[in-house]
Amino acid sequence: MKDQVKKWLESGTVDIFLGMKMVDGHPLPHAFTLGNISDLEELVPGTVRYPLETFAAELAAENPDARIGLAARECTQRALNVLSLWNQAPTDRIETIKLNCCPSPLKEHAACSYLDPPEAGLFKKHFGIDNAADPEAVARFEPRERFSRWMYEFQKCIKCYGCRNICPVCFCEDCSLEHKDLIGTGQLPPEAPIFHLVRAVHMAGRCIDCGLCEEACPADIPLRLLYRKVNAVVDDLFDYRAGEGEQPPPFNIIGERPSLEPKPMENGSACPQR
Protein backbone atom coordinates (compact mmCIF):
# COMPACT_ATOMS: atom_id res chain seq x y z
CA MET A 1 0.00 0.00 0.00
CA LYS A 2 2.80 2.36 0.90
CA ASP A 3 4.44 1.75 -2.47
CA GLN A 4 1.18 2.27 -4.27
CA VAL A 5 0.55 5.61 -2.53
CA LYS A 6 4.10 6.68 -3.21
CA LYS A 7 3.71 5.86 -6.88
CA TRP A 8 0.44 7.77 -7.04
CA LEU A 9 1.86 10.85 -5.36
CA GLU A 10 5.01 10.85 -7.44
CA SER A 11 3.23 10.29 -10.73
CA GLY A 12 0.63 12.92 -9.91
CA THR A 13 -2.23 10.42 -10.05
CA VAL A 14 -3.32 12.04 -6.82
CA ASP A 15 -2.33 15.32 -5.23
CA ILE A 16 -3.21 14.25 -1.76
CA PHE A 17 -3.77 10.90 -0.12
CA LEU A 18 -5.97 10.49 2.91
CA GLY A 19 -5.02 7.56 5.09
CA MET A 20 -4.19 6.72 8.65
CA LYS A 21 -0.89 7.49 10.30
CA MET A 22 0.34 6.24 13.66
CA VAL A 23 1.09 9.16 15.98
CA ASP A 24 2.18 8.38 19.52
CA GLY A 25 0.27 5.14 19.48
CA HIS A 26 -2.88 6.76 18.11
CA PRO A 27 -3.89 5.96 14.56
CA LEU A 28 -4.96 9.33 13.18
CA PRO A 29 -6.19 10.43 9.80
CA HIS A 30 -3.46 12.07 7.83
CA ALA A 31 -3.11 13.82 4.51
CA PHE A 32 -0.08 12.47 2.69
CA THR A 33 1.37 14.70 -0.02
CA LEU A 34 4.56 14.93 -2.00
CA GLY A 35 5.73 17.47 0.58
CA ASN A 36 5.54 15.06 3.51
CA ILE A 37 6.20 11.88 1.57
CA SER A 38 8.46 10.58 4.31
CA ASP A 39 5.41 10.29 6.55
CA LEU A 40 4.40 7.32 4.44
CA GLU A 41 6.59 5.21 6.68
CA GLU A 42 3.94 5.62 9.39
CA LEU A 43 1.03 4.81 7.09
CA VAL A 44 -1.11 2.13 8.75
CA PRO A 45 -4.36 0.46 7.78
CA GLY A 46 -5.65 1.42 11.17
CA THR A 47 -8.18 -0.36 13.33
CA VAL A 48 -10.28 2.71 14.00
CA ARG A 49 -12.38 4.47 11.46
CA TYR A 50 -12.83 8.14 10.66
CA PRO A 51 -15.09 9.35 7.85
CA LEU A 52 -12.23 9.88 5.40
CA GLU A 53 -14.71 10.06 2.50
CA THR A 54 -16.29 13.15 4.04
CA PHE A 55 -12.89 14.81 4.24
CA ALA A 56 -12.23 13.83 0.65
CA ALA A 57 -15.55 15.23 -0.54
CA GLU A 58 -14.97 18.49 1.30
CA LEU A 59 -11.46 18.84 -0.06
CA ALA A 60 -12.65 18.06 -3.56
CA ALA A 61 -15.39 20.68 -3.33
CA GLU A 62 -12.97 23.32 -2.08
CA ASN A 63 -10.31 22.52 -4.67
CA PRO A 64 -11.97 21.92 -8.03
CA ASP A 65 -8.78 20.60 -9.66
CA ALA A 66 -7.42 18.46 -6.87
CA ARG A 67 -7.18 14.71 -7.30
CA ILE A 68 -7.59 12.82 -4.09
CA GLY A 69 -6.52 9.38 -3.02
CA LEU A 70 -8.23 7.50 -0.27
CA ALA A 71 -7.65 4.43 1.83
CA ALA A 72 -11.08 2.92 1.50
CA ARG A 73 -12.81 0.31 3.51
CA GLU A 74 -15.86 -1.28 2.00
CA CYS A 75 -18.09 1.13 3.88
CA THR A 76 -15.99 4.03 2.58
CA GLN A 77 -16.60 2.83 -0.95
CA ARG A 78 -20.33 2.54 -0.34
CA ALA A 79 -20.40 6.02 1.14
CA LEU A 80 -18.55 7.37 -1.90
CA ASN A 81 -21.13 5.75 -4.17
CA VAL A 82 -23.94 7.40 -2.27
CA LEU A 83 -22.21 10.78 -2.21
CA SER A 84 -21.59 10.54 -5.92
CA LEU A 85 -25.24 9.72 -6.52
CA TRP A 86 -26.25 12.81 -4.60
CA ASN A 87 -23.83 14.97 -6.51
CA GLN A 88 -21.67 15.51 -3.43
CA ALA A 89 -18.41 13.83 -4.41
CA PRO A 90 -16.69 13.95 -7.77
CA THR A 91 -15.76 10.28 -7.99
CA ASP A 92 -13.81 10.92 -11.18
CA ARG A 93 -11.27 12.80 -9.08
CA ILE A 94 -11.19 10.37 -6.19
CA GLU A 95 -9.02 7.25 -6.35
CA THR A 96 -9.29 4.56 -3.74
CA ILE A 97 -7.07 1.82 -2.37
CA LYS A 98 -9.20 -0.94 -0.93
CA LEU A 99 -8.55 -1.99 2.62
CA ASN A 100 -9.17 -5.43 3.95
CA CYS A 101 -11.89 -4.86 6.47
CA CYS A 102 -15.38 -6.33 6.67
CA PRO A 103 -15.40 -10.04 7.40
CA SER A 104 -16.68 -12.45 4.83
CA PRO A 105 -16.95 -16.21 4.58
CA LEU A 106 -13.54 -16.16 2.90
CA LYS A 107 -11.61 -13.99 5.28
CA GLU A 108 -12.22 -14.01 8.96
CA HIS A 109 -9.69 -11.34 9.65
CA ALA A 110 -11.08 -7.85 9.60
CA ALA A 111 -9.69 -4.63 10.89
CA CYS A 112 -12.86 -2.89 11.92
CA SER A 113 -13.47 -1.19 15.21
CA TYR A 114 -17.10 -2.12 15.09
CA LEU A 115 -16.67 -5.85 15.06
CA ASP A 116 -17.03 -6.61 18.72
CA PRO A 117 -19.45 -4.20 20.35
CA PRO A 118 -19.36 -4.20 24.13
CA GLU A 119 -21.78 -6.52 25.80
CA ALA A 120 -24.94 -4.84 26.98
CA GLY A 121 -25.35 -4.38 30.70
CA LEU A 122 -28.04 -6.14 32.67
CA PHE A 123 -30.31 -3.13 32.90
CA LYS A 124 -30.02 -2.42 29.22
CA LYS A 125 -30.75 -6.04 28.46
CA HIS A 126 -33.80 -5.89 30.63
CA PHE A 127 -35.31 -2.57 29.67
CA GLY A 128 -33.41 -1.41 26.63
CA ILE A 129 -32.22 -2.86 23.40
CA ASP A 130 -28.99 -4.74 23.02
CA ASN A 131 -26.88 -3.00 20.41
CA ALA A 132 -25.78 -6.34 19.09
CA ALA A 133 -29.34 -7.61 18.62
CA ASP A 134 -30.84 -8.46 15.31
CA PRO A 135 -33.70 -6.24 13.99
CA GLU A 136 -35.84 -9.36 13.68
CA ALA A 137 -35.27 -10.15 17.33
CA VAL A 138 -36.36 -6.65 18.31
CA ALA A 139 -39.44 -6.98 16.13
CA ARG A 140 -40.45 -10.02 18.12
CA PHE A 141 -41.13 -7.98 21.25
CA GLU A 142 -44.76 -7.01 21.68
CA PRO A 143 -45.49 -3.54 20.28
CA ARG A 144 -45.76 -1.80 23.62
CA GLU A 145 -42.66 -3.40 24.99
CA ARG A 146 -40.84 -2.60 21.78
CA PHE A 147 -41.89 0.99 22.16
CA SER A 148 -40.91 1.08 25.80
CA ARG A 149 -37.50 -0.36 25.09
CA TRP A 150 -36.87 2.07 22.27
CA MET A 151 -37.99 4.96 24.42
CA TYR A 152 -35.55 3.92 27.11
CA GLU A 153 -32.79 4.09 24.53
CA PHE A 154 -33.94 7.32 22.91
CA GLN A 155 -34.31 9.10 26.24
CA LYS A 156 -30.64 8.73 26.94
CA CYS A 157 -29.91 11.00 24.02
CA ILE A 158 -27.93 14.08 24.99
CA LYS A 159 -28.53 15.68 21.60
CA CYS A 160 -24.84 15.94 20.78
CA TYR A 161 -25.62 15.51 17.07
CA GLY A 162 -22.62 13.17 16.97
CA CYS A 163 -24.53 10.64 14.89
CA ARG A 164 -25.21 13.25 12.27
CA ASN A 165 -21.83 14.96 12.44
CA ILE A 166 -19.84 11.82 11.87
CA CYS A 167 -22.19 10.35 9.29
CA PRO A 168 -20.41 10.10 5.95
CA VAL A 169 -23.60 10.44 3.93
CA CYS A 170 -25.10 13.43 5.79
CA PHE A 171 -24.41 16.50 3.72
CA CYS A 172 -27.31 18.95 4.10
CA GLU A 173 -26.54 22.58 4.80
CA ASP A 174 -29.80 22.98 6.64
CA CYS A 175 -30.46 19.96 8.82
CA SER A 176 -33.98 18.89 9.66
CA LEU A 177 -32.78 17.82 13.12
CA GLU A 178 -32.23 21.50 13.89
CA HIS A 179 -35.61 22.49 12.50
CA LYS A 180 -37.57 23.94 15.35
CA ASP A 181 -40.89 23.25 13.64
CA LEU A 182 -40.07 19.56 13.41
CA ILE A 183 -38.26 18.99 16.67
CA GLY A 184 -38.85 21.08 19.73
CA THR A 185 -35.83 22.94 21.03
CA GLY A 186 -34.54 23.64 24.50
CA GLN A 187 -35.26 20.29 26.02
CA LEU A 188 -33.19 17.30 26.94
CA PRO A 189 -33.64 14.57 26.00
CA PRO A 190 -34.71 15.93 22.63
CA GLU A 191 -38.26 15.25 21.57
CA ALA A 192 -38.17 11.47 21.62
CA PRO A 193 -38.82 9.51 19.56
CA ILE A 194 -39.27 12.25 16.94
CA PHE A 195 -35.61 13.24 16.90
CA HIS A 196 -34.41 9.75 16.16
CA LEU A 197 -37.22 8.87 13.81
CA VAL A 198 -36.68 12.00 11.74
CA ARG A 199 -33.09 11.00 11.35
CA ALA A 200 -34.08 7.42 10.58
CA VAL A 201 -36.42 8.64 7.83
CA HIS A 202 -33.68 10.79 6.39
CA MET A 203 -31.35 7.80 6.31
CA ALA A 204 -33.74 5.80 4.13
CA GLY A 205 -32.08 4.99 0.85
CA ARG A 206 -28.88 6.61 2.06
CA CYS A 207 -27.56 4.73 5.09
CA ILE A 208 -24.64 2.53 4.10
CA ASP A 209 -24.49 0.72 7.45
CA CYS A 210 -21.00 1.82 8.48
CA GLY A 211 -21.94 2.09 12.14
CA LEU A 212 -19.97 5.28 12.77
CA CYS A 213 -23.08 6.87 14.31
CA GLU A 214 -23.38 4.21 16.96
CA GLU A 215 -19.64 4.34 17.61
CA ALA A 216 -19.90 8.07 18.17
CA CYS A 217 -22.97 7.90 20.37
CA PRO A 218 -22.12 8.79 23.97
CA ALA A 219 -25.44 7.32 25.14
CA ASP A 220 -24.92 3.94 23.52
CA ILE A 221 -28.19 4.11 21.57
CA PRO A 222 -28.45 1.20 19.12
CA LEU A 223 -28.57 3.50 16.11
CA ARG A 224 -27.03 1.06 13.72
CA LEU A 225 -29.73 -1.43 14.58
CA LEU A 226 -32.43 1.14 13.87
CA TYR A 227 -30.94 2.12 10.52
CA ARG A 228 -30.42 -1.53 9.65
CA LYS A 229 -34.15 -1.94 9.96
CA VAL A 230 -34.60 1.17 7.79
CA ASN A 231 -32.33 -0.40 5.19
CA ALA A 232 -34.23 -3.68 5.36
CA VAL A 233 -37.53 -1.88 4.80
CA VAL A 234 -36.14 0.02 1.83
CA ASP A 235 -34.73 -3.18 0.42
CA ASP A 236 -37.97 -5.09 0.89
CA LEU A 237 -40.25 -2.38 -0.43
CA PHE A 238 -38.14 -0.98 -3.22
CA ASP A 239 -35.48 -3.59 -3.83
CA TYR A 240 -32.87 -0.97 -3.13
CA ARG A 241 -29.62 -1.16 -1.25
CA ALA A 242 -27.83 2.15 -0.73
CA GLY A 243 -24.23 2.30 -1.82
CA GLU A 244 -24.53 -0.55 -4.29
CA GLY A 245 -24.61 0.44 -7.91
CA GLU A 246 -25.71 3.70 -9.43
CA GLN A 247 -29.48 3.43 -9.18
CA PRO A 248 -31.04 6.59 -7.76
CA PRO A 249 -32.69 6.01 -4.40
CA PRO A 250 -36.42 5.20 -4.51
CA PHE A 251 -37.48 8.49 -2.97
CA ASN A 252 -35.74 10.35 -5.78
CA ILE A 253 -37.72 8.70 -8.55
CA ILE A 254 -41.20 9.93 -9.15
CA GLY A 255 -43.96 7.39 -9.57
CA GLU A 256 -45.06 4.33 -7.69
CA ARG A 257 -44.17 0.81 -8.37
CA PRO A 258 -47.39 -0.83 -9.48
CA SER A 259 -46.94 -3.65 -7.01
CA LEU A 260 -46.69 -1.31 -4.04
CA GLU A 261 -50.05 -1.30 -2.27
CA PRO A 262 -51.04 0.74 0.75
CA LYS A 263 -50.85 -1.42 3.80
CA PRO A 264 -54.32 -2.78 4.54
CA MET A 265 -55.89 -1.43 7.65
CA GLU A 266 -56.28 -4.92 9.08
CA ASN A 267 -57.62 -8.26 8.02
CA GLY A 268 -61.34 -8.24 7.37
CA SER A 269 -61.54 -4.47 7.17
CA ALA A 270 -64.78 -3.01 5.92
CA CYS A 271 -62.83 -1.27 3.18
CA PRO A 272 -61.71 -3.86 0.71
CA GLN A 273 -58.38 -3.16 -0.89
CA ARG A 274 -58.38 -2.87 -4.61
Binding site: V138, L197, V201, A204, F251, K263
Partner: protein, 94 residues
Protein backbone atom coordinates in the same frame (compact mmCIF):
# COMPACT_ATOMS: atom_id res chain seq x y z
CA UNK B 1 -44.21 9.26 -4.05
CA UNK B 2 -46.46 9.74 -1.06
CA UNK B 3 -47.30 6.08 -1.14
CA UNK B 4 -43.62 5.17 -1.04
CA UNK B 5 -42.99 7.42 1.92
CA UNK B 6 -46.06 6.23 3.79
CA UNK B 7 -45.33 2.56 3.24
CA UNK B 8 -41.81 3.12 4.49
CA UNK B 9 -42.96 5.09 7.50
CA UNK B 10 -45.56 2.49 8.42
CA UNK B 11 -42.84 -0.14 8.68
CA UNK B 12 -40.46 2.05 10.66
CA UNK B 13 -43.14 3.21 13.09
CA UNK B 14 -44.15 -0.37 13.54
CA UNK B 15 -40.57 -1.25 14.37
CA UNK B 16 -40.40 1.22 17.21
CA UNK B 17 -43.73 -0.02 18.52
CA UNK B 18 -46.12 2.57 17.11
CA UNK B 19 -47.49 0.30 14.40
CA UNK B 20 -50.99 0.55 12.98
CA UNK B 21 -51.35 4.22 13.73
CA UNK B 22 -50.58 5.42 10.23
CA UNK B 23 -52.86 4.61 7.36
CA UNK B 24 -53.16 5.74 3.80
CA UNK B 25 -55.97 5.20 1.36
CA UNK B 26 -56.73 6.44 -2.14
CA UNK B 27 -60.11 8.11 -2.13
CA UNK B 28 -61.40 10.14 -5.03
CA UNK B 29 -63.37 13.30 -4.40
CA UNK B 30 -66.42 11.45 -5.68
CA UNK B 31 -66.14 8.73 -3.06
CA UNK B 32 -67.63 10.44 -0.04
CA UNK B 33 -69.00 7.20 1.33
CA UNK B 34 -65.65 5.50 1.15
CA UNK B 35 -64.00 8.47 2.83
CA UNK B 36 -66.46 8.35 5.72
CA UNK B 37 -66.04 4.60 6.01
CA UNK B 38 -62.25 4.78 6.06
CA UNK B 39 -62.19 7.54 8.63
CA UNK B 40 -64.70 5.71 10.83
CA UNK B 41 -62.80 2.45 10.59
CA UNK B 42 -59.50 4.10 11.33
CA UNK B 43 -60.90 6.05 14.27
CA UNK B 44 -62.33 2.82 15.62
CA UNK B 45 -59.02 1.08 15.17
CA UNK B 46 -57.11 3.81 16.96
CA UNK B 47 -59.61 3.70 19.77
CA UNK B 48 -58.99 0.00 20.16
CA UNK B 49 -55.23 0.49 20.08
CA UNK B 50 -55.67 2.83 23.00
CA UNK B 51 -54.02 6.16 23.73
CA UNK B 52 -50.70 6.94 22.17
CA UNK B 53 -48.11 5.27 24.44
CA UNK B 54 -45.94 8.28 23.87
CA UNK B 55 -48.06 10.24 26.34
CA UNK B 56 -47.01 7.92 29.16
CA UNK B 57 -43.44 8.95 28.57
CA UNK B 58 -43.74 12.67 28.39
CA UNK B 59 -42.62 13.65 31.85
CA UNK B 60 -40.12 16.38 32.45
CA UNK B 61 -37.83 14.38 34.73
CA UNK B 62 -37.88 11.32 32.59
CA UNK B 63 -34.15 11.13 32.13
CA UNK B 64 -33.69 10.75 35.86
CA UNK B 65 -36.16 7.92 36.13
CA UNK B 66 -35.40 5.43 33.42
CA UNK B 67 -36.42 2.54 35.64
CA UNK B 68 -39.95 3.88 36.04
CA UNK B 69 -40.16 4.62 32.38
CA UNK B 70 -39.07 1.23 31.36
CA UNK B 71 -41.37 -0.51 33.73
CA UNK B 72 -44.37 1.62 32.93
CA UNK B 73 -45.22 0.34 29.53
CA UNK B 74 -44.17 -3.17 28.82
CA UNK B 75 -47.72 -4.43 28.40
CA UNK B 76 -49.42 -4.27 25.03
CA UNK B 77 -53.13 -3.67 24.69
CA UNK B 78 -55.14 -6.50 23.24
CA UNK B 79 -55.66 -4.56 20.04
CA UNK B 80 -51.97 -3.90 19.69
CA UNK B 81 -51.26 -7.56 20.05
CA UNK B 82 -53.84 -8.31 17.41
CA UNK B 83 -52.40 -5.68 15.15
CA UNK B 84 -48.96 -7.09 15.69
CA UNK B 85 -50.18 -10.44 14.47
CA UNK B 86 -51.35 -8.85 11.27
CA UNK B 87 -48.23 -6.87 10.64
CA UNK B 88 -45.44 -9.04 11.98
CA UNK B 89 -43.32 -10.68 11.00
CA UNK B 90 -42.59 -8.22 8.29
CA UNK B 91 -43.90 -9.73 5.10
CA UNK B 92 -41.51 -8.00 2.76
CA UNK B 93 -41.79 -7.90 -1.00
CA UNK B 94 -45.36 -7.73 -2.16
Amino acid sequence: MTLKRMRFLQEVLDFVGLGGRLHMEWISSAEAQKFAQVVTDFTEKIRRLGPNPLHAFIQPDMILRPRVVAASGLKSTAAEKEDAKGSLPFTGKQ
